[in-house]
């Protein structure tokens, strides 16, 4: 296997049951993790948005809702705001969009994964979590094509299997693991101790 550059970014997407899995992964990441994390979870449009607060309560890293044109910094978890697509632009920086929903979803996991893959190439890892539609499969395949590492939540541990099964089918060599093992796997990549 070709040597990978150090991990600079992690993109995570999920839908029904995804939050539960996410809160098992993020506690593993140290407060000063040397990578940026992007999160798209399909949630109902609400105000005030509490998703970032929920994520922050399970995570030592700085967490906030992504703002348009914001420069991306290592050590920060960027949560997609409800009803906006979260895209990664040159810089890298954050770009938001209210373009049409993809797979009935805005934010779209595919849109995040595809644009992050263009920016980070092999320095990106992507994780698809539990969910009841096919969003994220094309995006995870794009990350893999650009040389990034790809992970899928073990379907048996997912509240809704459709998303993880679609993602596993769309990729060639995704690592399939339960949420409890995904956090340590990312940390291993981050610190260069992965097998």
């Amino acid at each position: 296997m070709a040597a990978h550059p150090p991990l600079r970014a992690l993109a995570i997407g999920g839908s029904a049951g995804g939050l539960d899995a996410l809160t098992q992964i993020l506690p593993h990441l140290p407060a000063r993790a040397p990578l940026a994390v992007f999160v798209v979870l399909h949630v109902r449009r609400q105000r005030p948005s509490i998703l970032a607060d929920i994520v922050a309560s399970h995570c030592g890293m700085e967490v906030h809702e992504a703002e348009d044109k914001e420069p991306v910094r290592a050590g920060v978890v960027y949560v997609a705001p409800p009803d906006y697509h979260l895209l990664i632009a040159d810089g890298p920086s954050i770009a938001l969009s209210v373009d049409d929903a993809i797979h009935f979803s805005r934010p779209s996991i595919d849109a995040l994964f595809e644009t992050a893959a263009e920016q980070y190439g092999p320095a990106l890892a992507g994780i698809v979590l539990s969910g009841a539609n096919a969003d994220g499969a094309a995006g995870l395949a794009a990350i893999e094509r650009q040389g990034g590492r790809v992970f899928v939540q073990e379907p048996a541990t997912a509240q809704a299997r459709e998303m993880v099964e679609a993602a596993a089918a769309a990729t060639r060599a995704a690592t399939i693991a339960p949420p409890a093992a995904l956090g340590p796997a990312i940390v291993a990549l981050m610190t260069g101790t992965a097998a």
Partner: protein
């Protein structure tokens, strides 16, 4: 990455054609969104690739018009983000009502839903009679639709919840006439709005206004054009005038953002300070 670089050159070439031949300037639009919109246009219009689309756009006006639809498409909804309209009603209107006459600019009005929402709100607050609303966009098809003020009646029914959450004082159906599957906005609402072609990239300020509402438009601009547009708004606004942006937009990362101060922070309403 090499693939991206060559693709960017193709995008540049197409944008140059749009500017040279059709006088539409998308060159300073956010590249990441533009790439996705162009990819959608190539696929949905049935072209093999961007070069094939480019070749047709250069010599076929109808293809250009269809492409324009993809490049300017925006979600539009009456009273979208009701809290924004509620904040305007409760916090901004009391200050606007001190002026003898009012001018409001809806920049990037798309098919007009937001302009009509503001007209309804100002009507209910007793200000519409002395207000002129300028609603501008670069897409002539959207402007035509906006000026007609005709929307699917099903969609209007769906906006009722928004309207109520925005502090609506009557019934949304008071402001339109249903005819078959269509809702036609009532004449008093339409009379106070002037829809006009205006580009934030290439046109200048046309009036002094008290409120600019420009929601989810600046996110499609690159940093430089964003700063330019913000400058236009500051120049158009009267002293201490108001600027309303989209639910997740701010002036924080934009040059010239310091000409504005937070007014209703959570609702993304700003006030000109310089």
């Amino acid at each position: 990455m090499a693939a991206t670089a060559s693709h960017d050159a193709e995008v540049d070439a197409l944008l140059d054609t749009l500017f040279r031949v059709h006088h539409y300037d998308f060159r300073a639009y956010s590249r990441v969104s533009l790439r996705r919109r162009l990819a959608a246009a190539v696929e949905r219009l049935g072209y093999a690739d961007l070069a094939a689309l480019h070749a047709h756009v250069a010599r076929d006006g109808t293809v250009f018009n269809r492409l324009l639809g993809f490049l300017t498409v925006q979600v539009s909804e009456m009273f979208r983000d009701p809290h924004y309209f509620l904040a305007l009603r409760e916090s901004v209107v009391p200050l606007l009502s001190t002026y003898p006459s009012l001018r409001v600019w809806v920049a990037g009005c798309s098919s007009g839903e937001e302009a009509y929402s503001l007209a309804i709100l100002l009507h209910e607050e007793g200000l519409l009679e002395r207000t002129m609303i300028y609603a501008t966009d670069i897409n002539p098809v959207a402007l035509e639709k906006a000026a007609a003020g005709i929307y699917p009646v099903e969609a209007m029914r769906a906006y009722t919840t928004n309207y109520q959450q925005a502090g609506g004082k009557a019934s949304l159906s008071d402001y339109y006439t249903a005819a078959y599957d269509n809702a036609v906005m009532s004449r008093p609402m339409r009379e106070r709005i002037t829809f006009a072609d205006h580009s934030l990239a290439t046109d200048t300020v046309f009036a002094e206004v008290h409120l600019v509402s420009c929601r989810n438009v600046l996110i499609y601009f690159d940093a430089k054009l964003q700063a330019h547009a913000l400058g236009l708004f500051a120049d158009a606004l009267c002293r201490r005038g108001f600027l309303g942006l989209g639910a997740r937009e701010s002036v924080r990362f934009t040059a010239g953002g310091d000409r504005f101060a937070d007014f209703a922070r959570e609702d993304r309403i700003f006030r000109k300070v310089a």
